[in-house]
Symmetry: none
Subunit: 201 residues, 4 copies
Amino acid sequence: METGRVFHETPPRLGRPPRAATGHALLKATREILALKGVHGLTVEGVAARSGVAKTTIYRRWRSKEDLALAALLEMTQQEPPPTGQQGSTRTALIAYLGPLIENLNSKVYGRVVRGLISDLAVDRELARGFRERVLARRVTDLQGLLQRGIERRQLRADLDTELVIDLLLGPIYYRLLMSGEPLTPAFINRLVRAVMAYAR
Amino acid sequence: METGRVFHETPPRLGRPPRAATGHALLKATREILALKGVHGLTVEGVAARSGVAKTTIYRRWRSKEDLALAALLEMTQQEPPPTGQQGSTRTALIAYLGPLIENLNSKVYGRVVRGLISDLAVDRELARGFRERVLARRVTDLQGLLQRGIERRQLRADLDTELVIDLLLGPIYYRLLMSGEPLTPAFINRLVRAVMAYAR
Amino acid sequence: METGRVFHETPPRLGRPPRAATGHALLKATREILALKGVHGLTVEGVAARSGVAKTTIYRRWRSKEDLALAALLEMTQQEPPPTGQQGSTRTALIAYLGPLIENLNSKVYGRVVRGLISDLAVDRELARGFRERVLARRVTDLQGLLQRGIERRQLRADLDTELVIDLLLGPIYYRLLMSGEPLTPAFINRLVRAVMAYAR
Amino acid sequence: METGRVFHETPPRLGRPPRAATGHALLKATREILALKGVHGLTVEGVAARSGVAKTTIYRRWRSKEDLALAALLEMTQQEPPPTGQQGSTRTALIAYLGPLIENLNSKVYGRVVRGLISDLAVDRELARGFRERVLARRVTDLQGLLQRGIERRQLRADLDTELVIDLLLGPIYYRLLMSGEPLTPAFINRLVRAVMAYAR
DNA sequence: AACTAACCGAGACGGTACGTCCGGTCTTATT
DNA sequence: AATAAGACCGGACGTACCGTCTCGGTTAGTT
């Protein structure tokens, strides 16, 4: 695991092992700078200065500042709880899932980082892989699960194009975040889910 | 108009007027570099070198290289024809409209520029304003028109939430372009439009 | 006359005549900037801004900012009175002459300008010519006159090497101003003149 | 010592030590450019290009191009031998000392640098300190020594104002170099020393 | 306990680009 | 024709970061 890190999967068990504290200090500093100045204000030099960790050490652990930002993003995402046990309707479940997501995106750090990373995805293959496998994929599988359960319970069509449904749910959210700038409110999520359900049922 | 430019709407006719040729040369060089190396490879210095125009002159006309990229993007967008006269169904009209759009986005320069600008929208208010007013707004009004005509012709519900429909159409497209990386094919547009129509009818 | 100016001796009497006020405004602004920020802070652009005169106009009148500074210097020097009628001894006359000189050099503007021009003398032949003919030469002829009268009155040796004496008088003064930084006081002038008289008598 | 340099007297032995070769390459390039184009033609960018050393590295070592020029000057001055053992008269000793000095000043590089630095002395305190302590002070102590020995040997008056004598010797030399432009010849040194001795004896 | 490989901080270094200042030249409309 | 205004080219400035490269000094885990 630990994508983004340069470390070997099977550490050669020799010499002084890397200090865990160093990594934490770095990610903490990264998050703080990210919150204060956004991805544009994130510089390796700045992180080094703020964390007290040497620049060289940073490069020993991450290939670029984008990688570093991604790592910081992951630390935050991983604290999110998985989608709730699901007792109500599929519609309620979707709303319950997307609600916290937009809360995150509306938060300073999280939204900023996502926005900041986007343009680099096109340039940096490694980064794109990490972002998709470790941030997006989670959303997709979560939603896939929700939809699947909906199908099983006959709340959704059996022949539903779930891939497209996911695009229809996440697409507008990120479109607002990244491009139109329209606010991401619970009311919007309601309208969105209702519309998608009209198609999926 | 001419957002992004520093010039006055009604030039005070004083001093030597700006050479139009200079602007053209700059946008040409910008487009070329953009195509070759993407937004990340776009530097004011590079544009100056390639165009033979002095760096100072560039800064006199655009506030930043992002502004410059936006201007180059606009020059390309403005050559696009408006949505066709519309004789068939709303579905056909939508497909006919979104087809060229993804062709554009799939093209090297255009897609790259859009991707490259996204993250800066959050940082640079002026840039965001320009992008929304001059790039996005066009899509939105075009689509609004299409949908309105559909309503008038009773092909779409009278109480349709057109704003949401537009989010549902553009959202997934840009989501694929910017985030998931899934390809933007005519087939995808077909699926997308069919799904949205299921809701809108 | 008016060395340093580009004007034609016999103006071609056609079109709008040059405003005399323009020149004054320029020299005034020059002096002010010189006083505030020294020769290093003197820029053609700055003078244009402060005086409200166009940059082009400045270049029409002076070849460079050094020339401009020299012109400002001259305006100040020319207001100096010639050496006094001389009734006392040569020694007193010398002290009476050098006193005002160091007062000038100690003043903000004057000293700064002289210092600032020095290094350019080596580079700019025209400037050097102007400076020597129009600033230095005056000192030299004044002193030459004083010494000559001293010889006539038998206060100085008949075979006196007056050229050297002038070097011995002015040299140490400018050496202190430009290089050693030691203060130019009346007391110093006293010591200096006494020493030179010891040789010249 | 090593004024002008940013380095610490007692290096704290931390991090990669500065390469001596870098400094040499820089001063060499500086001297060459100085010889070719004078202080006016000396640019940090030019030195970087010629020496192959990065611009940033130059600024890491010297605060300005004037500092750099001073350093180059020092390298040259320090190779000068101290005043000769002195067996003859004080007059001969003075001539023997001032002769090489004017040879230096007459040489392309040396003279140019001195002239070029002069005006900056008034602006840049650090530079002035360096120049006085490390270039001028040497001349002064050398001459002071010569004069002192002259006094001890009864060749000069016991109550001699040696400070003034030094002004009288160096003043005219630099006055010619910087201002009047009159040539610095051995014959001139002869006349100068003879005159000063007339006062000092 | 000594060895030794890796970690880590510090800082030199070569680079690229930035955005700005200023120098000069030119072009236009106005006086 | 002189002037004001301002576009334009060009050179250099000093700075910010980048990513790499030595250094010296820890700090584990073998041997």
